[in-house]
C-alpha cells in the first residue's frame, strides 16, 4: 500500500523523467480519485470560508444593500476585493496542477454562500426583503478570467487580460440585476431611486444614510460618462490588485516548496 499512498516515486529513467506507470494502476487510480474528492471538498470549503470572510471585510456593506451599489465605488471596490483573493490562489493551483478553475470556483462559491447568508441572516433572521439585499453576481467574470488563462496558458498575459475584463465587465454583468432599483421615484418632494427609497424605508438602525460611500465626484468627471470611465479605472485597479496578490501567492508557494523539500 505504501507505494500507492506516496504520490511521487523518485525513480527517474535515463532521460530524467519520473516513473508514471503507477498512474496506469487501476487501484492507484481509484485511490487518487477518492483523494481528489477529499481535496475538492477541503479546497472548496476553504475557498468558501475564506472568500466570505475576506469579502465581508473588504466589500461588506457595499454588497449587502442595493442602495450602496453605485456607479462609482461598488464597481471599483468589489473587483479589487475579489481579484486580490483570487490572485493569491491562482499561482499555486496553476503551477502544481495546471488547473485554471480558481476564479470560477471563488465566484461561484461566493454566490452560493451569499445567497444562504442573505436568505437566512438578512431575510429569515432580520426580516430584510431579498429585493433589498440580494447578492450581486460575479460568476461570469470568474468564467471569463479562467477561460483567458486556459486560452493563453500564460500567467503573465492572463494577469493583464483577465483582471482587466474582470474590472471592466462588472457593471454590465450586474446591470440586469440592478436596473430595476435605479428607476426614479418622487418621494416627499425629493427625487430618489427605488434603491434609495428602500434604504430609507427598510429601517437600518446602525447604517444611516450618510454612511454610504457612493457617487463621490471629482472635477475630472465628464458629464454622462461616469460608467465607462469607472470601468476603465476599475479594470486597471483590478490588474494591479491581482498582480500584487499573484506575486504574493507565488512567493508563498515557492517558499513553502523549498521548505517542504528541505524537511522531506
Amino acid at each position: 500500500m505504501a507505494n500507492i499512498a506516496l504520490p511521487a516515486p523518485r525513480i527517474t529513467d535515463a532521460s530524467g523523467h519520473y516513473d508514471l506507470s503507477i498512474l496506469d494502476n487501476p487501484r492507484a487510480r481509484s485511490y487518487y480519485r477518492r483523494f481528489d474528492g477529499i481535496l475538492i471538498i477541503v479546497l472548496f470549503s476553504f475557498l468558501a470560508l475564506g472568500i466570505s470572510i475576506h469579502y465581508a471585510l473588504t466589500a461588506g456593506d457595499w454588497d449587502y444593500w442595493i442602495d450602496w451599489r453605485d456607479r462609482r465605488w461598488w464597481p471599483l471596490v468589489t473587483p479589487l476585493s475579489l481579484m486580490m483573493f483570487i490572485g493569491g490562489f491562482v499561482y499555486p493551483i496553476w503551477k502544481a496542477f495546471r488547473l485554471p478553475v480558481i476564479a470560477t470556483a471563488v465566484t461561484t462559491l461566493l454566490c452560493l454562500v451569499s445567497w444562504v447568508s442573505r436568505y437566512f441572516n438578512f431575510g429569515q433572521f432580520t426580516d430584510f426583503p431579498l429585493s433589498f439585499t440580494f447578492p450581486s453576481t460575479y460568476i461570469g467574470l470568474g468564467v471569463i478570467f479562467d477561460s483567458v488563462l486556459i486560452m493563453t496558458r500564460s500567467l503573465l498575459i492572463s494577469a493583464i487580460v483577465g483582471p482587466f475584463l474582470f474590472g471592466a465587465l462588472i457593471w454590465p454583468l450586474n446591470w440586469p440585476l440592478f436596473a430595476a432599483s435605479k428607476v426614479p421615484v418622487e418621494y416627499s418632494g425629493t427625487l430618489v431611486s427605488v434603491a434609495d427609497l428602500m434604504g430609507y424605508q427598510y429601517i437600518r438602525t446602525t447604517t444611516p444614510e450618510y454612511l454610504r460611500i457612493i457617487e463621490e465626484s471629482t472635477l475630472r468627471t465628464f458629464g454622462g460618462s461616469v460608467t465607462p470611465l469607472t470601468a476603465v479605472f476599475s479594470a486597471f485597479v483590478a490588474v494591479i490588485g491581482y498582480s500584487l496578490f499573484l506575486l504574493l501567492g507565488a512567493a508563498l508557494y515557492n517558499f513553502a516548496g523549498r521548505y517542504a523539500r528541505r524537511i522531506i
Partner: protein, 420 residues
C-alpha cells in the same frame, strides 16, 4: 481498504467546514440589540435632550401606521471628545431590524430622507411615521445617528403588532416616475433570481468540466512535475482550449444580452441619490427666567443630583419649577400624573424633584437648591458619572407661569461627586 470507512472522515470534514461557513457568516449589524443604558452617563446627559416623545397607537395590525413624535435640543455642553451634531446626522428609528418600514420623517417640517445637521441650543420637533410589517412586540425609539459619534437614543415605547386581520401579506407598493407600480418587497426579484440561476448554471458547468476529469490533483501534479516547466502547459489540451473558448464566448454573449435586456426593460434610470438637506432650528422657549448655575453635586449614596443656581424672574407672572429632564429621565416636582405623562411612559419619576423655593415671583432674584433624587439614577446606570473623563452635567429645566404656559431651557455645568 474499506470504502465506507475511508469516506466518512471526508464527509465529516466537509460537514464541519460547511457548518463553519454558516456560523462565520456575518450577521447584519442591524440585528444587534440597542444599548440604551450602555452609553456613558455624560454622553446621555450632554448630547441630545429628547422630550415630549409620544408613540401612538401602541397596538396595531400589520400594515397600520404608527406615529412617533417628539422634540430634541442638541446640548450646548456637547462633549469636546465627541464629533458634533453640527456636522452630519440622520433621524432614525430604533427598532430590531425592519419590523416596520418608515414611510415619512420630518424635522421642523423638513422631510428627512437625507442626512442633515443640527445646531446646539436650538429646538427641533420631529415626526416619524412607520408602517408595521412583521408581527411581534417591539421597543421602538426615536434615534439620531451622528456621523463618527454613533447613535443617540431617545425614550423607547413598547409597541404590539398583530397579524393583519384579513391575513393578507404585507405589501409596499409605490409608483415610480416612469408610471409603473411596484411592490418594494419584491421589486425586480424575479429577474435577479433568474439571472443568478443562469450564471450559477454557467459556473457549475465550467467547474464540472474540470472536476469531472479522471485525473485531478495528485495525478496532475505528477504529470506537471514530469513534464517540467517548459512542457507543463501541454496539460491544457486542445479540448480544454476549445471548452475555454466556448465558455468565454457564452459568458461574453450573456453579459451583452443581459445588459441590452436591462437597457430595454428599464430605459429610464438614475444614479443613487445622496446629499444633505438643511433644517432651520427654532429658538428654545425659555421665557422670562434667567438661570445661572453655581455648582452641582452628585451624591452616590443618596442617588441624587443637587444643583445650586441663581434664578431671576424677569417676567410679570410667577414661575414654578416643574421638571428636570436629563438622559431621557423626567424628574418631576409633584405627582407624575399632573405633568402630562403619556400612557405607559417610561423613565418618569414623580415627586423626585425638590426645590428650595416653590415659586419665583416677578422680578425676584433668588438662590435655589434643586435636588433630583430617584433610584432611576442607579437603574439607568447614571452612577457612572464619576468615571467620565469630563465631569459636567446638563439637562432641561422645565417651568411654567401662572397661566400654565410651559417654558424650558438647558442648564448645566461642572459636577462634583460626594462619596458620603
Amino acid at each position: 481498504m474499506n470504502t465506507a470507512k475511508s469516506r466518512s472522515p471526508a464527509r465529516y470534514l466537509g460537514n464541519a467546514l460547511v457548518l463553519g461557513v454558516l456560523v462565520l457568516l456575518a450577521l447584519p449589524m442591524e440585528a444587534v440589540a440597542h444599548g440604551e443604558r450602555a452609553q456613558l452617563a455624560s454622553m446621555r446627559m450632554r448630547t441630545l435632550h429628547w422630550f415630549d416623545i409620544e408613540v401612538s397607537p401602541v397596538r396595531v395590525n400589520v400594515g397600520d401606521t404608527i406615529v412617533i413624535t417628539g422634540k430634541f435640543i442638541p446640548s450646548e455642553f456637547w462633549p469636546e471628545q465627541l464629533p458634533s451634531v453640527t456636522d452630519t446626522a440622520f433621524l432614525n428609528v430604533g427598532a430590531p431590524g425592519p419590523k416596520f418600514i418608515r414611510v415619512h420623517s420630518e424635522v421642523n417640517g423638513v422631510p428627512m430622507i437625507r442626512s442633515t445637521a443640527f445646531e446646539p441650543g436650538k429646538l427641533y420637533e420631529f415626526k416619524s411615521v412607520v408602517r408595521a410589517r412583521v408581527p411581534g412586540r417591539y421597543h421602538i425609539h426615536p434615534l439620531l445617528n451622528v456621523k463618527d459619534a454613533g447613535t443617540l437614543v431617545g425614550k423607547g415605547s413598547w409597541v404590539e403588532v398583530e397579524p393583519s386581520p384579513t391575513g393578507e401579506p404585507f405589501t409596499n407598493e409605490i409608483t415610480t416616475l416612469t408610471g409603473e407600480t411596484v411592490d418594494l418587497e419584491n421589486v425586480g426579484l424575479k429577474s435577479v433570481i433568474g439571472w443568478h440561476l443562469v450564471w450559477i448554471l454557467v459556473g457549475v458547468a465550467f467547474l464540472a468540466y474540470w472536476l469531472a476529469k479522471p485525473e485531478l490533483f495528485i495525478p496532475r501534479y505528477m504529470r506537471v512535475r514530469n513534464l517540467g516547466p517548459e512542457q507543463a502547459n501541454t496539460m491544457i489540451t486542445r479540448r480544454d482550449f476549445l471548452a475555454g473558448g466556448i465558455f468565454f464566448t457564452i459568458s461574453m454573449v450573456l453579459i451583452l444580452a443581459g445588459y441590452l435586456w436591462a437597457e430595454h426593460k428599464y430605459p429610464v434610470t438614475i444614479p443613487l441619490q445622496t446629499g444633505k438637506v438643511g433644517v432651520p432650528g427654532r429658538p428654545v422657549p425659555s421665557g422670562p427666567l434667567v438661570v445661572e448655575v453655581e455648582n452641582a453635586n452628585y451624591e452616590l449614596a443618596g442617588r441624587s443630583l443637587t444643583m445650586r443656581m441663581k434664578l431671576a424672574n424677569e417676567g410679570d407672572s410667577p414661575i414654578e419649577i416643574r421638571e428636570f429632564v436629563t438622559a431621557n429621565i423626567r424628574f418631576i416636582n409633584g405627582p407624575a400624573a399632573a405633568a402630562g405623562v403619556v400612557e405607559n411612559e417610561e423613565l418618569v419619576a414623580g415627586d423626585s424633584l425638590h426645590s428650595s423655593v416653590s415659586t419665583i415671583a416677578p422680578g425676584q432674584h433668588v438662590d435655589v437648591v434643586l435636588r433630583a433624587e430617584d433610584s432611576l439614577w442607579e437603574t439607568q446606570r447614571m452612577t457612572g458619572l464619576i468615571h467620565d473623563p469630563d465631569s459636567r452635567f446638563a439637562g432641561l429645566l422645565v417651568y411654567r407661569d401662572a397661566e400654565g404656559k410651559r417654558y424650558y431651557q438647558e442648564v448645566g455645568g461642572s459636577i462634583l461627586p460626594k462619596f458620603f
